[in-house]
């Protein structure tokens, strides 16, 4: 475009000013949380605009990390999230491969069932899911969370991946077919290596979804030993209703894995979101 350097610089300045103001407004709650987590217990809720605590302390973090239970909940959440993520990506990619590359009777019906399931809000199913978990003896255990986390995430991930597999040129499949490669080899040596960005998107969404899951865990977990982090943090607030510094120190520690995954893989977020949203 033909624009003078001065005009372009003015445009940048206006955009930066507007973006900067919005960024401060949107990020301020996080700064508020961070600052509160470093304030001593007694002066919490003093001056909301004072970002740097006058007397910063690590006592909240020390107390949270000193709790034996916090470490346990962290490990619980990590174990459930990792096992669920592996299963979600494995099962969804297999289904997606069959839907996009193999021919079999009943294919259209099964795929329609997956797409229809995308319109069902998971919360609508919580009562019958609870009864199902009770009958299968999956209540009140970490292993019991996994089948439900995997089953509810399969629809979206299968849909996302089959869209991606469709975009792989069919000629590649045919070339391997001529060499005598069976479906397993074409899936493992062709589709999977070519789909790394889409698989990364699935890994991110599956991990974050299970790491943060709250409603189902709240419903089926009872014993303190088997709690996951979101449950622990919510209950923590109930027990220490005035110790906000403590609650936020725990919250920020729980956010760290999310932040790492998010910042490292942030470009995959855009790809996953847009392919998921625009196609549906």
């Amino acid at each position: 475009m033909v624009t003078s350097p001065l005009k372009r610089r003015l445009g940048y300045a206006i955009r930066y000013a507007l973006l900067g103001v919005t960024a401060v407004l949107l990020v301020y709650p996080f700064i508020y949380m961070l600052s509160t987590s470093f304030k001593p217990r007694s002066i919490v809720l003093s001056d909301p605009l004072q970002v740097m605590p006058s007397d910063p302390t690590l006592e909240n973090y020390a107390e949270v990390l000193g709790l034996h239970s916090f470490l346990r909940y962290f490990i619980n959440s990590a174990a459930v999230a990792i096992v669920s993520t592996v299963l979600i990506v494995a099962l969804a990619s297999m289904m997606a491969y069959a839907f996009s590359r193999l021919q079999f009777p009943g294919k259209r019906i099964l795929f329609t069932a997956i797409v229809v399931g995308l319109t069902i809000p998971t919360m609508m199913l919580i009562i019958p899911q609870f009864l199902l978990a009770r009958d299968l003896h999956l209540l009140n255990s970490l292993q019991g969370l996994v089948p439900f986390y995997v089953g509810t995430a399969l629809g979206f991930n299968t849909f996302l991946l089959s869209g991606f597999f469709e975009s792989i040129p069919r000629e590649l499949d045919e070339a391997m077919l001529i060499d005598g490669a069976g479906p397993w080899r074409r899936y493992w040596n062709l589709a999977i290596p070519l789909s790394k960005p889409a698989l990364a998107t699935c890994v991110i969404f599956a991990f974050l979804g299970t790491w943060d899951e709250f409603a189902w865990a709240l419903t089926v977990l009872n014993d303190t030993d088997v709690r996951t982090l979101p449950i622990a943090i919510a209950l923590f607030q109930g027990q220490h209703s005035t110790s906000w510094g403590l609650v936020f120190a725990a919250s920020l520690l729980a956010i760290i894995p999310v932040l790492i995954v998010y910042i490292v893989f942030q470009r995959f977020f855009v790809a996953g979101l847009t392919s998921g949203a625009i196609k549906s």
């Binding site: 099962l91 289904m95 069959a98 839907f99 021919q103 079999f104 299968t158 943090i233 979101l273």
Partner: protein, 320 residues
């Protein structure tokens, strides 16, 4: 409990053995078909067990007076649970709250998200950093942000009171946000908007990036300014994205749950209940599983109807 999932699968297997010529013709023999089922069945069986079967069960449970004790008789009551729901002032109130939440949060998320996407569209050093920042609330868990906003709106010297009372002088004394219906809903809506802006921004940004540069350049040569180019080039090109975002946000608005549960708990006295928190209370506090299922099913049906109307309306306006 596993039988309902077995039914469609055995049905599919049976038809697999009756080889149809077109599958053979496509160069995929019986072994390929068998392999396809090995790929599909493990995932689909689990999906059917925890999604499809419970979806049917929600409807069936809602038609019964469900007794939680094993072996107890749970009589069929027809539409009684639905009749009870639509005569229950708390449920009707909760629907009004969900409508208010949706009407307040959806337009704000769309307008602010679109505004930010427009600012970030095109060449701008550092745009990725802004995008990452704006999306941060979206990736943070609902539990953490709900507690954070409960603190911001806490009754004493929270940030919200500091702004509303000490800075803007909207009230004489500190407001007890969660002691009233509309002040409580305001806090819940504030969180909904803050958490959702980044999501709509990302979708709009992707749609805007896909608009061909040549269109902008042609419009610029014709003398169109920045605002005119946005109005006549960008906006028409992202109408599909706009309608998808609007539909998904409306569905999400009616399904608001964790923020209400953790911030107000539906209180004071059920005044800030939304359908899902009321359903949850009925099911897991009072063990009214049948009644809870009727609330779930009514909400889902209602949301699907609203989404269908939105879809139909966008299709119609897009054609004209």
């Amino acid at each position: 409990m596993t039988t309902p999932t077995a039914a469609p699968l055995t049905g599919a297997r049976r038809s697999a053995t009756s080889r149809r010529p077109r599958f053979v013709a496509a160069g995929t023999g019986r072994r390929e078909i068998l392999a396809a089922y090995v790929f599909v069945v493990p995932g689909f069986a689990l999906y059917a067990l925890v999604m499809l079967y419970p979806a049917v069960q929600t409807l069936l449970l809602s038609l019964r007076d469900w007794k939680i004790t094993p072996g107890a008789d749970s009589p069929w009551v027809g539409l009684d649970n639905y009749i009870r729901a639509f005569a229950d002032p708390v449920f009707l109130n909760s629907l009004v709250n969900a409508v208010v939440y949706t009407i307040v949060t959806v337009p704000l998320q769309i307008v602010i998200g679109l505004f930010l996407a427009a600012l970030l569209d095109g060449k701008l050093p550092g745009r990725v950093a802004f995008r990452v920042l704006f999306y941060l609330p979206v990736v943070t868990s609902w539990v953490v942000v709900s507690l954070l906003f409960q603190y911001i709106f806490s009754s004493n010297d929270g940030l919200a009171n500091f702004i509303a009372v000490d800075t803007l002088h909207l009230a004489d004394a500190n407001i007890n946000w969660f002691q009233g219906r509309w002040t409580g809903m305001l806090a819940i809506c504030a969180l909904g908007v803050w958490k959702g802006i980044g999501w709509s921004m990302i979708i709009f940004l992707a749609a805007l990036t896909a608009v061909p540069r040549e269109l902008h350049e042609a419009a610029a040569i014709d003398g169109a300014g920045t605002l005119a180019r946005f109005r006549y080039v960008s906006l028409p090109a992202i109408r599909a994205a706009l309608s998808v975002v609007a539909i998904l946000l409306v569905i999400g608005g009616f399904n608001v749950f964790i923020s209400v549960l953790l911030m107000s708990g539906g209180g004071p006295g059920n005044q800030t209940q939304v359908p899902l928190t009321y359903m949850y209370d009925q099911a897991f506090k009072f063990l009214n599983f049948g009644y809870g299922s009727a609330i779930s099913f009514s909400l889902t049906a209602l949301v699907l109807v609203v989404a269908a109307i939105q879809y139909w309306w966008t299709r119609r306006t897009m054609r004209s």
